[in-house]
């Protein structure tokens, strides 16, 4: 049994994993970079260790340092969260070699799933539908054009070792092929050290639907329902829901069983997600496996009453799944909005800075997985996601209404957030109908809410009080005592160390 768990991550996901650890009586060890010393995941941990300077490469991606902290802290297990080292098979391997439990899939399965072309081959082998395309990497332009003709334009060039859109190119006509192919090769080589490119049929405006699975070390695999993740911006999901508005019970079973087959064939255990593209006729095609816990896992949890991190820990401890497929009875509808620190009125620029006022929503059927507090300074070094807002309802409409209620209650000052953008999306008529696809946001006309009249009212009210105080300087807020200014400088430097003692 695990006694002490190091979470090799930061922010909301570190805390979310730590919470489950505590529920299970496991000590929660957090790590922090110099930019994160006063992060919520640190101050709510049982014990926190500095991992390095702010840059991820020197902190949250520093494998050896993380493992040595785990040893020093007496941790017996490491959970990688999502992002950072979570899908790094080498890290998993190192954790295991250090005599620690890695809370995730076996390194071999991670490696297999990390190679998109191998994963695709495996899917084909076990009869899981894949997007029509080349079986192997393509070495020449001529070979590529031949295959592209066979499957028909438009086609998609993809890097075998790819991810994050790098080395990816849509080719709509034959004459574009040669140059696109060379560019993709060069990009793939630069990004992944491997120029291998393969070709797939390009599906226009598909849906992104993924199947959550959980598997133990004894070959028991259960699918936990799908998530609809078609609302993406810059290849980043921002709203996820479960179930998908288009799924039928038959399709769900078919997709779930396909995912289970693939996972079994891969020798995979722990939690994982099998991603599919779904076309307008509900045909689904295997896309890839995310060999980790995902950002959007709560939408699955709140429908099932399940704690996926608990199940991950149990599987890692060698326990058998305590349920079978027929025990899985999802209830109602769940939807998640990722709350980012970014300014929708300014081209969605990241908006780091100090949170000067915060009141997060709560109450019935709202879950907030948050990594912030009032007074916290959002650092500039990492993904600007602040929290996730998850609403549950008996049906989609109720879930959406509650999500909107919670968005309206989410009060953050000091930084900008994309709350207005979310409100606009969930009130869009096509979105309400469930008529969405991965290109939805490209077609979505967003204009930031105009609040000038209210701002003029608010501004003149405040101005009228201020101008009634003749001695007050015009500078921001209040005249500050020297103590306060020094205190703030120290806080910015990362502590009061300098003048202690």
């Amino acid at each position: 049994m695990i006694q002490r768990l190091l979470v090799a991550n930061r922010g909301e996901i570190s805390l979310r994993i730590g919470r489950t650890a505590r529920d299970l009586g496991i000590e929660y060890i957090a790590i922090y970079s110099d930019a994160d010393k006063n992060a919520l995941h640190v101050i709510l941990s049982d014990r926190a260790y500095r991992v390095g300077p702010p840059e991820s490469e020197r902190s949250y991606l520093n494998m050896d340092r993380i493992i040595s902290i785990a040893k020093e802290a007496g941790a017996d297990a490491i959970h990688p969260g999502y992002g950072f080292l979570s899908e790094n098979a080498e890290f998993a391997q190192k954790v295991i070699e250090a005599g620690l439990i890695f809370i995730g899939p076996p390194p071999e399965a991670m490696r297999l799933m990390g190679d998109k072309l191998q994963a695709r081959k495996l899917a084909q082998k076990v009869g899981v539908p894949t997007v029509p395309g080349s079986k192997e990497g393509i070495s020449t332009v001529e070979e590529g054009i031949e295959i592209a003709r066979e499957i028909g334009f438009p086609v998609l060039l993809k890097a075998a070792m790819g991810g994050g859109g790098k080395g990816m190119r849509v080719v709509r006509e034959e004459q574009e092929f040669a140059s696109a192919f060379k560019l993709a090769q060069a990009e793939a080589l630069g990004a992944f050290g491997d120029p291998t490119i393969y070709i797939e049929k390009f599906i226009e405006n598909p849906r992104h639907v993924e199947m959550q699975i959980i598997a133990d070390k004894y070959g028991n695999v259960v699918y936990l329902g799908e998530r609809e993740c078609s609302i993406q911006r810059r290849h980043q999901k921002i709203i996820e829901e479960s179930p998908s508005p288009i799924m039928t019970p038959e399709k769900r079973k078919e997709m779930g069983e396909a995912a289970v087959e693939l996972i079994k064939a891969a020798g995979y255990y722990n939690a994982g997600t099998v991603e599919f593209l779904v076309d307008n006729d509900l045909n689904f095609y295997f896309l890839e496996v995310n060999a980790r816990l995902q950002v959007e896992h709560p939408v699955t949890e709140v429908r099932l009453g399940m704690d996926l991190v608990k199940e991950q820990i149990r599987v890692a401890e060698g326990e058998k799944l305590s349920f079978t497929q027929k025990d899985i009875e999802p209830r109602g509808w769940a939807i998640e909005a990722r709350i980012y620190a970014e300014d929708p009125a300014n081209n969605f620029f990241p908006s780091p800075g100090k949170i000067t006022f915060l009141r997060e929503p709560n109450g019935p059927y709202i879950r907030v997985d948050s990594g912030i507090y009032q007074g916290y300074e959002v650092p500039i070094y990492y993904d600007p996601m602040l929290s996730k807002l998850i609403a549950w309802g008996e049906d989609r409409e109720e879930a959406l209404n509650r999500l909107e209620r919670a968005l309206n209650e989410y009060i953050v000052f000091g930084i900008q957030t994309a709350i207005d953008f979310h409100k606009k999306i969930i009130n869009d008529e096509r979105f309400r109908r469930g008529d969405i696809h991965t290109g939805f946001l490209n077609e979505f006309h967003y204009s930031p809410v105009e609040r000038k009249k209210e701002a003029a009212l608010a501004g003149s009210l405040v101005f009228s009080i201020r101008s009634a105080m003749p001695s007050e300087p015009k500078g921001e807020c209040l005249k500050e005592s020297k103590w306060k200014i020094i205190g703030r400088e120290l806080a910015l430097k990362g502590g009061f160390d300098e003048i202690l003692g």
Partner: protein
């Protein structure tokens, strides 16, 4: 008391008057009973406008403007006491050169314009990399690039003037 509230693209005349112990505000011909409370003893307020709560934060910036933030939108404005002469208003409306500032600290990874170039509102001028993302800096209005204060590879602070459009 009368105020002229000036936004980038227009303004409002606002009057606030005492009325039987409560306050009344006139804005664009509409009138409302108002009341202002601080939520944190600092600069976070709730204004009740005919009983409807409006939560906001007010920040006076060093350049003399006032920034009013709602949870879903921030607007920047200049407020002047209006003494009833329209000259006051027109003066506030006149626009000098428009400074384009960096919305955050980051690295300039591309410069797509130059001094003297005519630009259209919305045209991409620079690319700024920050928080692992590349973001285009666009022209806030039509005009001519008068000053260009950064070059490719340079790091900039939030609020730094990047260029001026006249």
């Amino acid at each position: 008391m009368k105020y002229w509230v000036e936004f980038e693209d227009g303004g409002f005349e606002v009057s606030i008057i005492d009325e039987n112990g409560s306050k009344r505000i006139f804005l664009n011909g509409e009138s409302s009973e108002v009341e202002l409370l601080s939520l944190d003893g600092k600069n976070t307020y709730v204004a009740f406008v005919d009983g409807r709560p409006l939560i906001f934060q007010a920040n006076f910036k060093s350049n003399g403007t006032l920034e009013i933030s709602f949870p879903d939108r921030t607007h920047e404005m200049t407020i002047v006491k209006s003494i009833g002469r329209s000259g006051e208003r027109r003066k506030a409306e006149q626009k000098g050169p428009r400074k384009v500032k960096s919305p955050m600290s980051g690295l300039i990874v591309d410069v797509m314009t130059e001094i003297g170039r005519e630009v259209k509102k919305g045209e991409a001028l620079l690319v700024l990399e920050a928080m692992k993302m590349r973001n285009e800096i666009k022209a806030p209005r039509d005009g001519v690039v008068k000053e260009l204060k950064v070059s490719k590879g340079q790091t900039v602070e939030a609020g730094a003037v990047l260029l001026t459009i006249e």
